[in-house]
Symmetry: C2
Subunit: 748 residues, 2 copies
Amino acid sequence: MSEPEKSGDVPEPAGQGNTLPRGGNPAKSPQDFDLAAIYVSDAQYNRNIYFDTSPQAVRLYLRYNHWLSQVLLYFFILVDLSLAIFEEPAVLPLPTWATMLVELLCLLVFTIRLVHYAKVIPRDKFWKDPKNICIIVILMLTLVDMAIYGALKATNCYALRWSRVLRPLLLVNVTEGRQLRRAFRSIRNALPQIFYVFLLFMFSLLIFSLMALKLLGKRMPAYNASLGFTIFFILYILINTYIFMSVFLAVVYNNYKKYLKEEVQQMVRAKRHKMVRAFAVLQEQRVEGGGPVVTQANWNQMVRLVQPNMSNAHRELLWSVSDDKNQGYIGKVPFVQLADLLNIEVITVKSRPHPLHSMCPAIYLSAPSRLLCRLVQHRAFVIVYDLIILVNAVFIGLDEQNQMIANSEWVFLALYLLEILLKLYVFEPRAFFSRHSFWNCPSASQIISTRFDTIIVVSALIATILNSTMKSLEDYTTRQILDIVFILRVLRLIRVVDSIKRFRAIINTLIRIGPAILTFGQLIIVVYYIFAMVGMELFKGKVKFYEEDSTDPEKAYCGNPLLKGTAFAELNYCKNNFNNVVSSFILLVELTVVNQWHVLSSGFASVTYMSARIFFVLFHIVVVIIIINIFVAFVLEAFFVEYSVDKSDLQTSLERKIEELELAVEQEKLEDNLVNAMETIDNDQGTSQSANTKPALMFKIASKRYRTVDALLQRMFEADLDPEDFAENDDPEAQNNGSFVNPTFSPV
Amino acid sequence: MSEPEKSGDVPEPAGQGNTLPRGGNPAKSPQDFDLAAIYVSDAQYNRNIYFDTSPQAVRLYLRYNHWLSQVLLYFFILVDLSLAIFEEPAVLPLPTWATMLVELLCLLVFTIRLVHYAKVIPRDKFWKDPKNICIIVILMLTLVDMAIYGALKATNCYALRWSRVLRPLLLVNVTEGRQLRRAFRSIRNALPQIFYVFLLFMFSLLIFSLMALKLLGKRMPAYNASLGFTIFFILYILINTYIFMSVFLAVVYNNYKKYLKEEVQQMVRAKRHKMVRAFAVLQEQRVEGGGPVVTQANWNQMVRLVQPNMSNAHRELLWSVSDDKNQGYIGKVPFVQLADLLNIEVITVKSRPHPLHSMCPAIYLSAPSRLLCRLVQHRAFVIVYDLIILVNAVFIGLDEQNQMIANSEWVFLALYLLEILLKLYVFEPRAFFSRHSFWNCPSASQIISTRFDTIIVVSALIATILNSTMKSLEDYTTRQILDIVFILRVLRLIRVVDSIKRFRAIINTLIRIGPAILTFGQLIIVVYYIFAMVGMELFKGKVKFYEEDSTDPEKAYCGNPLLKGTAFAELNYCKNNFNNVVSSFILLVELTVVNQWHVLSSGFASVTYMSARIFFVLFHIVVVIIIINIFVAFVLEAFFVEYSVDKSDLQTSLERKIEELELAVEQEKLEDNLVNAMETIDNDQGTSQSANTKPALMFKIASKRYRTVDALLQRMFEADLDPEDFAENDDPEAQNNGSFVNPTFSPV
């Protein structure tokens, strides 16, 4: 067997040497279970921290990973970032001492977090990690800046809070935001390639500008002058817009994917390594001459620690998957699979009769009641309601001042309520409202839609009633409530999408890549924040916005005489300014979608200096050329994976295993006819498929959903990953040949 | 052996049954060689025509494929398409009878071509091919339209030439434009998928518009009204711009690639099938009990017919690659490879001494001369000239009115001339100017650049001299010559790109996908032409353009009172009209790059009816959403192939074979030091590597270039193609198991 020592420079678990002499099988101490549970949990969530294995450090480490400390940390980062709202130039001005005090508190929290981290991991590891050095430097610099700023402010000198640019870096480094760090690393690695294409692009622009200068310089407007120049422009557009932008996308996509794949491979290797360490802690020698194993009792105790709220049935299901020969113990390979098993979302459903069925079976099982159930479950029911929604869409588009149309809203609300009541009558309420509505919602989008639907309809009902009572009572419409009613009314329409299968596939993909898009959201916020801070220092107060009804003559040129006659002032872009952090963000969004980029950049260049354009060009390069392309590349890749998964049925080996064990409920059986299915299940209770499953319990894999972004990434590169990482080989010796190589936990 | 009969519904070669009785090896008739050569040539160029194999039909088929008849056909298609310039509304008006006469001539040519085709292929095949039916219908409809139009014109009624919309379809169907037809087929196949995403996109737009209508309808401008609405717009941009556009690209890319792959697989199968047929014609039984073979003599005679201008040495090289055991005959598998072998560009170079070397060796081989040679070949020489070019770029940017800067042009021209002369002194002139400059141009871009460079410099010299003589003689600068001088001056700068390796890789890819981009060019022209014809009928004369110096009061609203006060008239977009085919094309280009789409579409809608907007929306969907995305997908795919080729060294088996035979010249040997290399070659003459190659002859594979678009496509899908299509297996029996299945030559 692969000795733990072989696996390299991770510190040895302290207790292990004593509790696991070869051949002897002493009882495991609670610390051992704690340690193993931590390894498994780290593997499940891909946490890469080299914690010390002394019981004290393990306890600290548990506290470090506690959800409360994580939430607190994110809260303080949010507070730190949102200080920009209250600092000069402020949206809501607060005295300088107040923001400084809050910032000091945040810094204190970050310092405590860092000290906590330092206590958890060995000292030499701590100082080797650039991430920690980075945090310390940022904290130092911020303190220095605050001291200088405070002193200068006190003497009424001009002071600059330059360290605010560093704040988003804390979001990157202090938190366990692996996805974010990974994205930054991938971008950094892809930069050289992008740079070369960018140089070539610049060269192409140079050639075209020189030609334009020489040929068109004195003969504008070109198009009216000669038709021949049209060819020039067409060539320009073809080369610089279509070809170069495609090349940018190709290069960004290719490089980003390449480095991301490497990272994911490392991640998978690290995960397996952690599982092997957990195995090493719990292993014992059962069969003389055989490999070390983990018994079901120890495994159960550990899994209970890892996921305290997992149902017994679910845990037994996992065990039966791992121990497919029913031996009562498992070897290393099935043990290692546990990390992936835990990441597969298994839905446990108890099939229970409808409450009305128990209360008054005579009525509920009567012929009209049964007919109603059949009607509601019929496809036509769905189609009728889709048509109702479409009619509703038309009514929404019509003018609501018309009394008849205003009243029609009540009709539609009544129809939607009727639908919910009918469904409640037919389906078991708990199943209907449960998190993974088992009965009528097989897909991710449907899970969202049913609950979403109910919430929307009920809140629309409440808001509409509220609105009309207010209207009748005071003859006064509060705009806010009416807005909410409108939004709810429109959102109701989304339901239609759900009933068309092709749409559902697309929507599912979009929902699945949602979490990954959030990573890009963080990335964008980090970049925006830095640019907003710099922009505010450069341009604050240069452009003023006057209210609509202002009669100030300065309004015509945004309060800055330098803007007289510029397109910026003529188009009344005065509200697009860097006067506070919110305006700055909105301005940066406009720059991202390249909306009037030239007007904005030339406007700000004319109020400062021409070199200010560098700021706008830099922003364009970073956001539009690099980050947007990476975003597109990510969406592309996710769709390609979806398409290939649909075609080649790329189920993970674990999912297949569960299906082999015939524990998965066949969905068709349930969907075809619910009442029949329920009866079948009732009849089957005595002859349940597996001895391990409790009767009347059904398992279903929400196979297409990913619990974490990492799981999605792993799935994306599954086909390209080292096959040994997914080895189904039951012979543990096969795993011995360096497959659990020492992972390099690469820091930022 | 796979009997020819097995290979399916292709008509049997007529003479084969007689000339090839089993066991007997009668001499092949000239018709047999003609037939075999046609099969091979068809395989090489992927022509898929089921021609009759009777000698008469074969002769007709040869004439059908003759380059002259192809050129004539393209010429008449061009004439037919360009008739739009002379027809109402015309750029250059011609009387109706003249254009009608020319069109009749074109129709006649197309009819002759079709009759010719009908004579070549069997009758039942002709009527089964929708392509032919399509041509006949178009010809009929055009004749009918012309008759009606002529009659109506004669009676001075309003007449419409609606059949002009059909003209570009002739370009698709009459010519052998397989790439174009393939592109159309792929688009057609991908349409359903694209349609579903498009519906979803429309639905998303509907939801957002309804919300906008309800929330913002009466409260514009939204941004100034409330910050909350900014979130609405950001969501709108994120979902409808970034996410949906990425999804469009993903769906288009995925589907286009999928269908293109299928087409390429069919193409490869058809190619192999044709080669098997050629083999069947020439095969004879050499070894008793062995498989049928083709002798070197027969092979030589056939290859001479296929490529009459191939050098003997080159042909012998190909034979030695095919007959690697030196048996004097080859089996089916190496014979089938010939089609691919012929598509590999092999450069034959005779190493001959420099003419000066032969004329006065004493001087040419003297120490100073040798030093000069070494200097010119040194890297520093390239760097110095790159610097000169950069300095030149700066000078071009400066004002040419300055006398010193105007004169500097002469200095630069002299420097460039000096470079050419020095290179001519050092390198053998024929090698320097040859089509595949062997010595100093290993890559495709360099091949272009050296000749390009010389042409540019020499023509710049001529133009500059011409310009200054004219200037000094008449004190008058002709604008045209000056423009050419400027263009040449700027184009000279492109050379810099070539000396940086990273740039060269990108440029090479772009050059390689050039021919494929031309296919897209044709596709765009077909779509543009149809939209231009429809647009001209809908909008001709609705908008008038007045010259810059016109004082007509109607100029303010483009001659149409309906345009008064519209953005179209205010922005003076009068020149963007459908008044003739050239303006229409330019307008469509503007619509393609989505430049002021809303202004243009609303302008034309206001001069006709609101429904005219459908025209603009349709154009946007077809061109921007489908065709542009396919273009981007194609560029992406080509770059991915380039990247993976660079990494995994995906040489085709044939190229590898040539390398195995050590016939390929190692490039480094030649580049390092040319004089030494030449000496080595001179010394090696006696002990030449291969007995088959003539002494002092070198072969080099221009491995990264593709002779045809089909070769590029084949390379793109090489990894995904059925491995049997590239089977290296020498056992002909292995090929017997249905690998040469009957190809389905799918028509349009």
